[in-house]
């Protein structure tokens, strides 16, 4: 209560000033309304013009009056005192040279700003956490040091389970053959042959798809050692584009709790490329654009689009 008494704000003048602002706003809107309505109907053109000018002048003078009144009132309102110190930091306000070292007011502003930032960040994180985007085992946040690191159980799966899932998916699609290799430890590398159109190499990490490379049917998938070549790009621009789209797809299809559903969705999407050279673009109707067939497949409808035509 003592704080209220110490307040340097003239509450009366404050309320007068607020009504002054309202008066100013209404007179300004009156000016624009009269401009919008234009000239009123009178007998002669001169009469109309005179009437309009007189009205306009009246409105502008009202605006001027209200503005002067508002300036007078704002002089009376006074500055809110900064005498509610934040404990010890209030001692900074004792420095009299306010112009050169406005420490205390800057401190208050920074404090208000950081409060707002924390509030907004809290809102954003609650929204983002609704969609779990984690692809790694690390837990971020303040609790990471206190709780022991808990790995999601889907990252450590027995290889036999992975083999079973892959072979089941391979049987689902008759025109797609999937061969499984394990050239480097427990991570599986799949060689997916889609009809006579393309060959895709999919590198997995337990049941999560890590990266993929797509090459043509007649291109070599093995390097000189006889091992699967998982790094070099296709020599054809078409398949380089399809590789980019496949990378987008494996980032799109995500469900950390059910990775086998993810793999199945990805394979269904990849299978739509069986008609890579036969389909025309759904949007422009042509087969070729910039020398490329429609390489984009929509993630939901699996329709074919050119890369430049997709919506």
């Amino acid at each position: 209560m003592a704080d209220l008494v110490n307040v340097g704000v003239n509450l009366d003048a404050f309320s007068h000033a607020i009504s002054g602002i309202q008066a100013l706003r209404s007179s300004v809107s009156r000016v624009f309304e009269s401009l919008k309505d234009g000239m009123k109907n009178r007998d002669t053109l001169e009469g109309r013009e005179k009437q309009f000018i007189v009205e306009f002048q009246d409105n502008l003078q009202a605006v001027n009056r209200d503005l002067n009144e508002l300036e007078r009132l704002s002089g009376l309102v006074g500055r809110p005192s900064e005498s509610h110190p934040l404990h010890n930091s209030g001692l900074l306000s004792l420095d009299p040279v306010q112009d050169k070292t406005p420490l205390y007011s800057q401190l208050l502003q920074a404090y208000k700003w950081s409060n707002k930032l924390q509030y907004h960040a809290g809102l954003a994180s609650s929204l983002l956490n609704q969609q779990s985007l984690k692809r790694s085992a690390n837990q971020m946040g303040a609790s990471a040091k206190r709780r022991p690191k808990v790995q999601p159980s889907t990252l450590v799966l027995p290889p036999q389970y992975v083999d079973d899932v892959i072979s089941r998916i391979g049987r689902m699609f008759p025109d797609m053959t999937i061969e499984l290799f394990r050239p480097n430890g427990t991570s599986a590398v799949l060689l997916v042959t889609l009809g006579k159109v393309l060959k895709a190499i999919v590198v997995m990490r337990s049941l999560f798809i890590d990266r993929t490379v797509v090459r043509g049917f007649n291109e070599n998938v093995y390097n000189e050692d006889g091992k699967l070549d998982i790094w070099s790009k296709s020599q054809y621009q078409v398949f380089q584009k399809v590789t980019d789209h496949a990378t987008t797809a494996l980032l799109h299809y995500q469900l950390p709790q059910m990775p086998d559903v993810v793999v199945r969705s990805f394979m269904t999407w990849l299978r739509s490329y069986i008609k890579l050279f036969q389909s025309s673009c759904q949007r422009c109707g042509h087969f070729l654009q910039d020398g490329l067939p429609p390489t984009w497949r929509d993630f939901r409808t699996l329709e074919a689009f050119h890369d430049t035509c997709r919506m």
Partner: protein, 207 residues
Amino acid sequence: MGVTCVCQVPVAEGKSVQQTVDIVHKKLEQLGAVKQGTFCVDCETYHATGNVSGQPTKLLYMMHNSETPLSCMALFEGGPCLIADSNFDVLMVKLKSHFQKCQGTQGGVWYCDNELQCQRDITLTFCVFPQVEYCPCVVPGDCWNLTKEFMQSFLGPSVPELPSVFAAKPEGLFAPSDGVDTMTQYLELFNKLRKQQIPGRFAGKKV
């Protein structure tokens, strides 16, 4: 590698063959193609001597393609095809008693339009045969529409027909490594041209 399609372009009215070829080349350059070199396809016809009378003379066609310079292809029209190395030419000379030579040669220019498609023109004295190869695809039935659209973009709206090789094996693999399917297409077009021309007057010229 890839699917090859050869078609025939009628010479524009009032223009010579060279002018038609120049028009096509200009359109290709507008599409972004870059001239890479020259190539040559030639065809020599032999007819079998010493046949039993009453049977039609069998014609053997010996074709060479500078794309595969070490090979030599011998085809019977619609029949079996033999691919041999270049010594086969010498062998044919030795078989003079059975086969008589009677034909000429043709040639062409090669454009390459990014790494996907190679386009070649074969020009005779009175006809132009563009050849389009779409490298990424190996099944002819799949990419016929795509190839047709590409050909229409620089040849105009005249619709090329589906080559019979495509119709014969739409799902099978196009045989890229030995070029048999390509040569079969050339052979059909040459023979069609011969039938249109006055017999005996046919003569090719190297461009």
